[in-house]
């Protein structure tokens, strides 16, 4: 990791934080991605369009950035394809049971000083670190 990686990481983080803050004010909701996406499957009248627009913006912004900057397009999968649906199911169930993901709890919740989000973030970080340890250091 070099200086430009650190600068891009902080700049990217600021874009994520400010984008989340704008979405918070405009929607009047905490715009964690798991909640914005998950609630599309439990639609309430007049509550779906803003979610679709925000998520389309996310996908457009990501793909555009990948096309413009080769470093943003770097991609290396870390799990066999057979494990991916299991990981997806766990992330889907876990984020809806726990009420948030890396953005809802990790960015918005921690950024608001919410105790429950700080606890959730420490727990999912610890669980993820333990999982990576078990998978990538077998026999350790």
């Amino acid at each position: 990791m070099n200086t430009s990686t650190i600068l891009l990481a902080v700049a990217g983080g600021v874009l994520i934080g400010v984008g989340s803050a704008i979405a918070t004010v405009v929607s009047g909701r905490i715009p964690g991605i798991s909640g914005v996406f998950g609630r599309l499957f439990r639609p309430k009248y007049g509550d779906s369009l803003w979610r679709v627009v925000f998520l389309c913006g996310l996908m457009f912004g990501a793909v555009l950035t990948m096309l413009l900057f080769p470093s943003a397009a770097e991609y290396r999968p870390m799990a066999p394809l057979a494990w991916i649906p299991i990981a997806g199911l766990l992330v889907g169930i876990g984020t809806r049971v726990g009420g948030g993901c890396t953005s809802g709890h990790g960015v918005c919740g921690v950024g608001s000083g919410a105790i429950d989000s700080i606890v959730a973030t420490m727990v999912f970080m610890a669980a993820a670190i333990a999982t990576v340890f078990v998978i990538h250091h077998p026999g350790a």
Binding site: A11, A21, M59, F60, M78, G88, G111, I129, I135
Partner: protein, 137 residues
């Protein structure tokens, strides 16, 4: 209409930030989580930038447009449900290196893993919301 344009721009900033900072690359995410291996601290800088800028931006927005901001709840309940959900999410995140935002970004970029991950995540969300109840929000 103005609100929808602002939301598209906000989403665009979010997605651009994810890609720019390398968070759409599972290898970077797993590298951060692999604290006992060749640790890659990039994600810590992303989180620091995001948390700090969100806190500052919201302090400004709450002063400027107080009525538009959701109520600030700093003492939400720390329930078994919160902890159990976070554990399940963390395990899934550690297996594949995808959390919901980057998964959707890589889905749009047609990465084969994300094309499998996102439908599975949606099924998990639907099952959870149908049989395990909605979260507190």
């Amino acid at each position: 209409m103005r609100k929808l344009i602002l939301l598209f721009v906000a989403g665009g900033m979010f997605g651009s930030g994810l890609a720019m900072s390398g968070m759409t690359n599972p290898a970077r995410v797993i590298g951060f989580l692999d604290v006992f291996g060749a640790w890659d601290p990039t994600l810590a800088f992303v989180m620091g930038g995001a948390v700090g800028s969100y806190a500052i931006a919201m302090a400004v927005f709450r002063r400027r447009w107080p009525a538009s901001c959701p109520a600030q709840d700093r003492k939400g309940p720390i329930s078994k449900r919160l902890v159990l959900g976070a554990v399940l999410f963390g395990i899934g995140w550690g297996i594949a290196g995808f959390c919901p935002g980057p998964a959707l970004a890589d889905f749009a970029a047609l990465r084969i893993e994300a094309l499998w991950f996102v439908p599975a995540m949606a099924i998990g969300m639907i099952l959870s919301q149908r049989f395990l109840g909605a979260d507190r929000d």
